[in-house]
Assembly symmetry: C2
Homo-oligomer: 410 residues x 2
């Protein structure tokens, strides 16, 4: 697709390091798009464990329900992702499509279908032409390579304007461990709808329950702390695969001190991918970090931050480079969490604009105005009731969002 | 203000009937605007009772807190409303401003300050020049008349493009009873922020607790069932005054059958005013009614409806005349209420587009496309789990909203 990258895109696309035990293949299968890859097959060596975080939507898609069942087994040997069609709201036929894909991938991977994970992203309400995916799987398996991470990120894009990749290394005991990951998403995506997907693989050797205990808080602080338009997909999926190829002492608990470095690396990698999703937000012209302190709990702080980050009035003010703290106060008020109006303090770009329930008298607007003209906006809000804190990220709401989303579908 | 009325504005501005025991006066006091009225004084005869519904915001303004205290007394003799300045986030000085206004109005009305109700709407975070309001109050009181309802509606406008009025008559026993009301609001309003205010007066003779029992469900089905952008003001205020001038048998309970006609008239009047607010939604080009059925409870149905009505993706699709039911499914899914994906049914403009979790095969798109081009959009969603139902109203999200809200403040 010939799309202009978001003005907030990273300057370079990182090439993730190969992960021992993982091979990747992509292909243009013509699910919906022409002249681009649209299917990803990932193969994992025997012994790979898996954990995941899935959309909380009450109308989640058949592939998401399939993954939920697979996660209970905790073992993974293959992942198949297609773009262009979300296989959502497709009833029993949608379930059959997932089963067909899982069976075909199990045949090429030599595993049980329940060790195959399946995701679909793109238009909803249309039947998935699954034979276009299952047919090429044997050839794809034969061509799979350890170093195809950027191609993998490209194959799962829908209206993303750039592929999203990240990689890092850390230590568990004396062993060097690799983490590599990809993501897609740019809000709930036009022309129909889409989704946020992220897949991370590591060669660490971790039982599924440890993986899950690491993944859930990392997801809360990253993918669950970003918002583009507050809309939640029927297909959001985050999976973490661990091949066990790294030679480190056994880890049986997420709290094991040997894990500290891995935990930090995982947290940072997920945050990096989540930020890339926000930076590709539909129509985004500014990347916004909102730090909330002084809330009753961390959870309350996150809810306040997301309420600020989802407020159309806050987001349009930022688009207009307007340091409109009144709208931030309004958003704090509607979040449904405790806040002390008369102790509320707001900093924009590091400059204090409100304190103790009042505008700071005669504050110097020049640096604040200059900050608001930039690409990176920092808003700090202390709500004055406790020690809960959270940081969330969003983008502004511009004419570009309307252009993308109000286009006629046909 | 020279503003072009919303394309969804009513064709005529209704002139509310005088209500015995109510006199109104407006004046250009120069609170912020020039060359237009910006203060309303309403005077109520002795014996007037009052009930209200106030914003749930945790950062509500000093005038709202003043009204909350006054409502506990249940008696009203005066109302003062100014536009142009919301007196919100103004600390102790804001509280003093409210006290000054209440004291001055009490002096002209010959009542206690706690029988005076005060509202302010407009810019937040700026100190209210209350002397500009209190100074003219004696002259305003002398000039107050029973028939100044439309002027009253104009004086409380901020970025509203037309005054919002409604009136009706009903019977309690054999007595004819009048209800007249005004409202303002067009979303959370630019350039800074604003609010939704509504004031209704009747000559019925009703104790405050009966008024409240009637007002709360009527507000839930009207003002609490509309949304423009999901943003909640620090100042939202709805007050219902009853002067007791009508000669009807005493009513001591909201369930009294003698009340049925009054209840229906109040419900209809609030709904009329609430619809006028939506029709003045910033940038609105289409008025949207969303009927949700089959939810677990009525409350769940309302939450699902408001989630659909607040979804930027749904609202931009409507702006683009796109019958994008996939986005409606997505919004149902994220509402946090029970829904059965495989029993979900959606009608647009009366045409069934989805049923049993699937697109209706080969439905005729022509009437649906024609409906989406209109000014009045009807969306019906059955979520397939129970008998809860609710109707909510919203407008579309257009470039006009961004234009209005992303303008530089200075």
């Amino acid at each position: 697709m010939d799309t202009v990258p978001s003005p907030l895109a990273p300057e370079t696309i990182v090439t993730p390091a190969p992960v021992a035990g993982v091979r990747l293949a992509t292909r243009a299968c013509g699910v919906r798009y022409r002249d681009r890859t649209d299917v990803l097959l990932a193969l994992f060596d025997p012994g790979t464990t898996v954990a995941g975080v899935l959309t909380q939507s009450a109308t989640r898609s058949a592939p998401v329900e399939w993954c939920a069942a697979g996660l209970r087994g905790g073992a993974a040997r293959a992942l198949v992702v297609n773009s262009g069609n979300a296989n959502a709201f497709t009833g029993l036929r949608g379930v059959s499509s997932v089963e067909n894909i899982a069976a075909a991938a199990a045949a090429v991977a030599g595993c049980k279908p329940e060790e195959v994970f399946v995701s679909s992203t793109g238009t909803i309400g249309e039947f998935l032409p699954d034979a276009r995916i299952t047919g090429p799987l044997p050839e794809m398996a034969a061509a799979a390579r350890p170093d195809a991470w950027v191609e993998a990120a490209r194959a799962i894009m829908t209206t993303d304007t750039y592929p999203k990749t990240a990689t890092s290394q850390c230590r568990i005991g004396d062993a060097v461990v690799t983490l590599s990951g990809i993501a897609k998403g740019s809000g709930m995506i036009a022309p129909d709808m889409a989704t946020m997907l992220a897949y991370v693989a590591t060669d660490a050797a971790l039982p599924p329950e440890v993986l899950k205990a690491l993944l859930v808080p990392a997801a809360d602080a990253s993918f669950n702390s970003i918002t583009v338009d507050g809309d939640t997909s029927t297909s959001d999926t985050l999976l973490l695969f661990a091949t066990g190829k790294a030679d480190h002492p056994p880890v049986t608990s997420a709290d094991d001190p040997a894990q500290a470095s891995f935990r930090a690396a995982l947290d940072a990698l997920l945050l990096d991918l989540a930020h890339q999703v926000v930076r590709d937000g539909e129509g985004a012209s500014r990347f916004v970090e909102i730090r909330v302190t002084g809330a009753e709990t961390d959870r309350a702080a996150r809810r306040i931050g997301l309420t600020i980050g989802n407020s159309p009035l806050v987001k349009t003010a930022i688009a207009g480079a307007d340091a409109n703290w009144g709208r931030i106060v309004m958003a704090v008020g509607k979040a449904g969490e405790k806040a002390d109006r008369d102790r509320l303090a707001i900093h924009i770009g590091g400059a204090r604009v409100c304190e103790s329930g009042l505008a700071v008298p005669d504050y110097d607007e020049t640096p604040v105005a200059a900050h608001m003209q930039g690409r990176e906006i920092l808003i700090e809000v202390d709500v004055g009731v406790g020690s809960g804190r959270a940081t969330v990220w969003t983008c502004d709401l511009t004419h570009g969002y309307i252009d993308i989303n109000a286009d006629y579908r046909t």
